[in-house]
């Protein structure tokens, strides 16, 4: 096979490979997330009862932190996709924007919901309007709801894409703000507990948390790849409808 034949082969096989890769990552992520949950609830050591108001509720940590991590990855992909569409008019940029907005919403809601349950047990209140990390993360999730529902309310077109991409770009400022929030304003959320000089996390706990982080990373990437495929199919369907309309069938 010559060079051009090899190139054609790659082009033809790439979508199938991406489809399989997306499904594979999604499935591995689900399995890893299930294992993390089981290990976190059953195997991981309990925390000191003196250090927490609700030591049992601390187990939510193994779900809450990896889902927040995955949401941050999704918001970063959202920023990259938005930028690629807005600046370079790349079709893959818009597809990435759509898929990662949906992933951001899913993982953002997981983190907010699990955080509320943990907060209610540990702090006595599910929400604190003065905690900066809590609120900026919730805003990111609201931004994701806005992008997902908003896109569905508008016909696809350049105006729709530009407007939502702009929100995706400006909204990204909340990602570093959320990350750095506890370093500047430690109100309810604790400061960093992983990879700090204090080394405050037990090694078994750290292992389960790492497994959770890897699993949720696979899950968010798999979710995004599958989402991109769905968005492409959606666009193809609209194109076919346009062709049928023009042919007057």
């Amino acid at each position: 096979m010559g060079d051009s034949g090899r190139q054609i082969g790659i082009v033809l096989l790439l979508p199938r490979f991406m489809r399989d890769l997306g499904t594979l990552l999604l499935m591995s992520g689900f399995a890893g997330a299930g294992l993390t949950l089981w290990l976190g609830l059953v195997w991981a050591p309990s925390v000191s009862i003196d250090a927490f108001e609700a030591p049992i509720a601390q187990k939510i940590f193994y779900w809450h932190v990896p889902s927040a991590w995955a949401a941050m990855i999704a918001f970063t992909l959202l920023f990259v996709g938005s930028l690629a569409w807005f600046v370079k008019r790349k079709e893959w940029g818009w597809n990435l924007h759509v898929a990662s907005a949906e992933a951001s919403l899913a993982f953002g809601l997981m983190a907010v919901w699990s955080g509320c349950i943990w907060g209610a047990a540990e702090w006595g209140v599910p929400w604190d309007w003065t905690d900066v990390r809590l609120n900026t993360f919730a805003l990111l999730t609201l931004l994701a709801i806005f992008l997902v529902l908003g896109r569905r309310s508008q016909p696809d077109g350049i105006e729709t894409r530009d407007t939502f991409a702009t929100f995706g770009i400006y909204g990204f400022i909340l990602v570093p703000t959320t990350y750095l929030a506890t370093r500047f304003w430690q109100i309810r959320h604790p400061g960093p507990v992983v990879a700090t000089s204090e080394g405050s996390l037990n090694s078994d706990m750290g292992m389960v948390l790492t497994l959770g982080a890897i699993s949720f990373t696979l899950l968010v990437i798999g979710h995004t790849i599958c989402g991109i495929r769905l968005t492409k199919m959606e666009s193809r369907l609209i194109e076919i409808q346009d062709i049928i309309d023009k042919e007057g069938i």
Partner: protein
């Protein structure tokens, strides 16, 4: 002499289609150019692009000295305000007929005898009526008058953009308009019109069709149209409109009052600690601010916001009234919750003003969408609760 308006290599995409592809057009002083073509060919897109309302994928639109818009994202407004009449009338229903004409003159920094002008167009008897009470044809006359008026009162050559100005006008009015178009051109102004009407097409020096053909024509001359005017300051249109319609009462004060009522009904102010008291005092102001600017919802009527966006850097708003009403609400809350302090009243007023301004900016950011009203922009408003909560914490 440079052209009054130049469109070079313009590419515009709307929705999923490319409406204009490498489009070129120039408009000279004293020239009438009519765009002709079937529906959907891009006539309105050209007019709206020249008014700076549409982003360009490629190319640029310039006047002699200013870039109106280009594909790099640069944009500006012409030295002397242009006249604009879109397909929609672009007038808020609560505006008075005379006020509208005075406001257009005000945008050009002039004041005129608007009553006399309205008499000429058989609208003198409706000068103090709200635009909402006029017939469709009368509203269209006001929209067209608003579009052509800058040419009669500005000293320098002006661009007049008219998108199907004849739609909804009776025979007499179309004849009057076609005569007026030639008079405007004779005054040295350039007019770009999109129309299907044969009387309007007959006024053209050049007819541009969308199959790349240009037809030169030689219409009859007119007599330069000029209206006596004197310098004037721009009016605070939003505040004036809000004073008449009491929009901020229903939109800002009532939600604030409801918050005060709910707090009084559900809690005992004597039992409040310091943080709770400050929170209760500033909550009505936050509710008033979250309700937004009372004029912005009116601007959605018949594309008024587009007209104002094109004519003025800051669209009409009543943020000053939001500030005043929130200060009053906070004073009332201070009295009822037992902590009357000037810094709290000031904080309440500023919180509401900033909150309403942010909501106005979010609203403006989504106006380009084809269905802005279907968008749940309020989902983003909790962003405004965090600064409020931190302020309450600091003041407590």
């Amino acid at each position: 002499m440079p052209d009054l308006l130049t469109m070079s290599g313009v590419v515009i995409r709307r929705g999923r289609n490319t409406v204009l592809d490498d489009f070129h057009l120039d408009l000279k002083n004293g020239e009438v150019v009519v765009l002709v073509g079937e529906n959907g060919c891009g006539k309105s897109t050209v007019i709206e692009a020249c008014a700076g309302l549409i982003d360009l994928e490629k190319g640029s639109i310039k006047t002699a000295k200013t870039i109106i818009r280009d594909s790099e994202g640069r944009h500006g407004r012409p030295e002397s305000p242009f006249g604009l009449c879109l397909q929609s009338d672009c007038i808020m229903g609560d505006e008075l007929v005379k006020e509208r004409i005075d406001d257009v003159a005000g945008l050009c920094g002039k004041s005129i005898d608007s009553q006399a002008l309205l008499e000429q167009w058989n609208l003198g008897h409706r000068s103090q009526d709200r635009v909402a009470s006029l017939s469709k044809g009368q509203r269209r006359k006001i929209a067209v008058l608003s579009g052509v008026l800058p040419s009669a009162i500005t000293d320098s050559p002006t661009v007049i953009l008219l998108d199907e100005p004849d739609a909804g006008l009776d025979e007499d009015s179309v004849s009057r308009l076609s005569g007026l178009i030639r008079d405007i051109a004779d005054g040295g102004h350039g007019i770009l019109i999109a129309s299907h009407n044969s009387q309007i097409i007959a006024c053209a020096d050049r007819i541009v069709t969308f199959d790349d053909s240009v037809i030169e024509s030689a219409p009859s001359d007119g007599v330069a149209w000029k209206i006596k005017s004197k310098p004037a300051k721009k009016a605070r249109i939003g505040n004036r409109l809000d004073r008449r319609t009491l929009g901020s009462l229903s939109q800002n004060i009532i939600p604030g009052m409801l918050v005060i009522g709910a707090l009084l009904a559900l809690s005992d102010p004597t039992q409040f600690d310091s943080r709770m008291r400050i929170g209760a005092i500033l909550a009505p102001a936050l509710a008033a601010g979250l309700s937004g600017d009372p004029i912005s919802s009116r601007l959605t009527e018949s594309r008024s916001s587009d007209w104002w966006r094109s004519m003025s850097a800051i669209p009409p708003n009543a943020l000053l009234h939001v500030l005043i009403s929130s200060a009053l609400l906070t004073t009332l809350a201070c009295t009822l919750f037992g902590k009357l302090e000037y810094n709290l009243i000031f904080a309440g007023a500023v919180v509401a003003m900033i909150t309403a301004s942010v909501i106005l900016i979010l609203h403006q950011a989504t106006l380009r969408l084809s269905r802005p009203s279907a968008l749940m922009i309020r989902l983003l408003t909790p962003a405004l609760i965090l600064p409020w909560a931190i302020l309450v914490d600091r003041l407590a």
